[in-house]
């Protein structure tokens, strides 16, 4: 790629850019579900903690991180819009009311921690605490339904596979949240969370099996994809990662458990992408190759992403290094 004029006609370095952007879009989605997933999980676990001090520690744990985590959703929307605009348009307008449910949940979830800390009286904190829990449960639930509908090509909101996937995503965020909180807390709270983690993991495995089973039963067109080697490998990887998560949690190997939780999220998104490819939208039947933007725009976007995404990882490394380790006594949101 030495001739700038070739940018308009030749893919950069001859790479399969359409497939790479398909992968990138799902990678960004997985980053969002993993990073903001533990924020959602912390929000769900907030409901299980009555003690004010413990609740403050939960909020303090995600305080510096969640803004950055949530941006991955914005980048997901932007990347899908930029690389596959017709898919973005069709997918979002088709799920009109569901998108607004997701947005509503995210608004409530996003406001709640900030508002919770604005006034330190019981009534105010009780209501914003509830909003935090409700937003943290409904956002991943609706997102799960959205993802399931995307894969199956369903346009209505309520299908059995979609409901099961929604619940599975909620359970996964709790698994994720436990893994994160065990890095960020000490003492009794950290020990108590272990049980929550086992329960959420069990629920997740049951729901994933139920989701795959219901997709198999209800969507004959997806059966061969479901039984393809990459998807089966990811299902097996899910089981292995679940085992690793449980063992690491038992042995108090916090970083291993956190890594396993990340692996579970990436495996789930990988299954979704595997079921979809080479289509990128079952409802319209558009393939990745047909839906991609022009070569010139794709080349420019690829240069942009190749420069910017590594920088983003530097920012996250700075942030997570600055706030590594458990919350110190007295440290609050």
């Amino acid at each position: 790629m030495t001739d700038p004029a070739a940018l308009a006609t030749e893919p950069l370095f001859g790479l399969p850019l359409a497939d790479l952007w398909f992968g990138l879009v799902f990678f960004i989605l997985a980053m969002f579900l993993f990073l903001d997933g533990f924020d959602f999980g912390v929000g769900a676990l907030f409901a299980t903690r009555e003690d004010d001090d413990e609740r403050e520690r939960l909020l303090a744990a995600i305080g510096p991180f969640w803004d950055g985590n949530e941006v991955w959703l914005v980048v997901f929307g932007g990347a899908l819009f930029a690389a596959f605009p017709s898919v973005y348009a069709n997918l979002f307008s088709r799920h009109y009311l569901l998108m607004f449910a997701i947005l509503g949940a995210l608004i409530v979830r996003g406001l709640a921690p900030e508002m919770y800390e604005q006034r330190h009286d019981d009534g105010w904190q009780r209501w914003w605490g509830r909003a935090f829990v409700v937003g943290s449960l409904t956002a991943p639930f609706f997102l799960g339904i959205f993802i399931a509908n995307w894969v199956t090509g369903a346009t209505s909101i309520v299908t059995l596979p979609a409901l099961v996937v929604g619940l599975a995503v909620v359970a996964l965020t709790v698994v994720d949240g436990v893994a994160f909180l065990r890095l960020k807390t000490r003492g009794d709270l950290r020990d108590d969370l272990r049980t929550d983690g086992y329960r959420a993991l069990g629920a997740y495995l049951v729901l994933v099996v139920a989701a795959l089973g219901s997709v198999y039963a209800a969507e004959p067109a997806l059966r061969s994809a479901l039984l393809s080697a990459p998807v089966l490998a990811l299902v097996l990887a899910t089981l292995a990662l679940a085992g690793a998560y449980a063992a690491a949690t038992r042995a108090d190997r916090y970083y291993v458990a956190f890594g396993a939780a990340a692996g579970l999220v990436f495996a789930l998104v990988g299954i979704v992408a595997g079921l979809m490819y080479p289509s990128i939208d079952r409802a319209t039947g558009l393939t990745v190759e047909a839906a991609i933007v022009s070569t010139l725009q794709l080349n420019l976007m690829s240069i942009g992403a190749a420069v910017l995404l590594p920088l983003v990882f530097v920012y996250f490394a700075v942030l997570y290094t600055a706030f590594s380790g458990p919350i110190e006594a007295g440290e609050s949101y």
């Binding site: 949530e70 914005v74 348009a89 509503g104 608004i107 406001l111 700075v318 609050s332």
Partner: protein, 474 residues
């Protein structure tokens, strides 16, 4: 049940009008926060730590509310304007994706360090985080305005067909993204943001200075409020005259690139020369009150003023009238009045700046109660001027969503039903007005609580001090 096209337009207008308040606060506060952080680190004077911490609280709340309202805007292109997204996505989606990756990521990650990290990171990294947050907010505007300016003056594209849809295809990235409108919009927007925050700071500062010095009702931390007033005034002295001068040149650029919008701004129906600049204009007959074509009007105008403005100095110049353009006109009355009110406010801000600057220079800044009252009343007016400016920009471009390429009515999602449009319009009206009320309530609360007090500052180096910057009651 509302028509899906009208519903989508109203919904987008409502969500944009509410959303824009929060990025304006963030973008306007950013240079102040960088300066306060720099002075805090370099001098260690408590006043700068107070300024930094106090305005960081307002910034953090603005950022959170701006984020949750902004995600909605991004998604609305897909949900409500799917036809636009399909047609223009190739050019329009790229800047949005780059905004997320380049700007929003930078701002959001370093905001965590900036808000929570004063005790955790060294001075150098803390300063870097302040600059990164500020840079992130401004880069966001770069990408959003690149996208928007392309819709105003589209360049560098060709119409082609893909999957059965007519779409714009990028052919000349420099023409498309280094768009002639972009520098005008960016300077006008960023200056407006700083000006709005300057007015906000001056107004809030004036309130406490007024209570303390004029009413002689003792106010804690009065030095903090005096400093706030002065910082606001300094910024206003820089930004207010610049905005008027720049706005005048910007209007001439609109004459050249979007003559239909300019005709709507001046309500010129028939092509004419020596066109007056009306300050006010009312139909003399009540029957014609709602008729935008009313001819019998009572107006106070400067003869040849609009021609002079459009041409840059020639009162005899010809202005192309609205009737010369194919297709529908924008809602002229909205554009005409929004433009007038924006310009009027712009001059009022210059007057305030000069007035405040003069009193400061003559040593009477703390005693001029009329000035304090004027500043207090003007606290939200910068934001209102920004809103009016955006109404001129966006409504003035109608009926086009992409000037001369795609009509707004053709950009709406084809499958959208009246029921869906109505449900979400009502839902967003409730939620967004609630958000605005909540934001106002929280900001007022933060202002009333005032800066962190001296005792709090004295304990800044002890480990017991909470790391919080955003909690009011700590």
């Amino acid at each position: 049940m509302i028509d899906p096209v009208l519903g989508s337009r109203l919904q987008f207008a409502l969500t944009t009008i509410v959303h824009i308040i929060f990025p304006v606060m963030s973008m306007g506060l950013a240079p102040f926060l960088v300066y306060f952080t720099w002075k805090d680190i370099r001098t260690g004077e408590p006043i700068y730590e107070q300024l930094r911490r106090f305005w960081t609280r307002i910034f953090a709340v603005s950022f959170v509310v701006g984020t949750v309202t902004g995600i909605v805007l991004e998604f609305e292109f897909g949900t409500n304007f799917a036809a636009f997204s399909t047609t223009a996505g190739e050019l329009f989606g790229g800047p949005l994706a780059l905004e997320g990756m380049m700007a929003f990521m930078l701002e959001a990650t370093f905001l965590g360090v900036f808000v929570f990290g004063r005790e955790r990171v060294g001075n150098a990294l803390y300063m870097v985080s302040a600059v990164a947050v500020g840079l992130g907010t401004w880069l966001s505007a770069v990408w959003i305005l690149i996208a928007n300016s392309w819709m105003q003056t589209p360049r560098g594209y060709e119409l082609t067909t893909a999957n059965g849809h007519t779409i714009v295809e990028l052919v000349d990235p420099v023409a498309a993204y280094a768009n002639p409108r972009f520098p005008w919009m960016f300077v006008h927007m960023q200056n407006a943001a700083v000006e709005s925050v300057a007015l906000f700071m001056a107004g809030v500062g004036a309130y406490f200075v007024f209570r303390h010095h004029v009413w002689e009702y003792p106010v804690e931390n009065v030095a903090f409020w005096e400093a706030t007033l002065k910082f606001g005034l300094v910024a206003l002295l820089v930004t207010a005259p610049l905005q008027v001068l720049h706005g005048d040149l910007y209007a001439r650029h609109i004459v050249e690139t979007q003559p239909q919008k300019f005709a709507a701004m001046e309500a010129v129906w028939e092509t004419d020369s020596y066109v007056p600049e009306y300050i006010v204009a009312f139909p003399t007959s009540l029957d014609q009150l709602l008729d935008p074509r009313a001819k019998e009007i009572f107006g106070i105008g400067i003869p040849g003023g609009a021609s002079w403005l459009a041409s840059g100095g020639d009162p005899q110049a010809t202005i192309k009238g609205l009737e010369e353009f194919d297709g529908k006109q924008p809602p002229v009355a909205i554009v005409f009045w929004s433009f007038r009110m924006m310009v009027g406010l712009g001059f009022w801000f210059v007057l305030l700046a000069v007035w405040g600057g003069y009193r400061w220079w003559s040593g009477e800044l703390l005693e001029d109660d009329l000035l304090h009252k004027a500043l207090m009343l003007s606290t939200p007016l910068g934001i209102i001027a920004v809103e009016l400016g955006w109404i001129v920009t966006e409504v003035g471009r109608q009926p086009w969503v992409i000037q001369d390429v795609l009509r707004t009515t053709d950009g709406v999602s084809p499958g959208l039903t009246a029921g869906e449009a109505t449900a979400t319009l009502v839902g967003f009206a409730v939620v967004y007005l609630g958000l605005l009320a909540l934001y106002t309530y929280v900001v007022v609360r933060i202002v009333r609580a005032g800066p962190p007090d001296g005792d709090d500052l004295a304990t800044r180096d002890t480990p017991e001090r909470p790391a919080s910057e955003v909690s009011v009651d700590d």
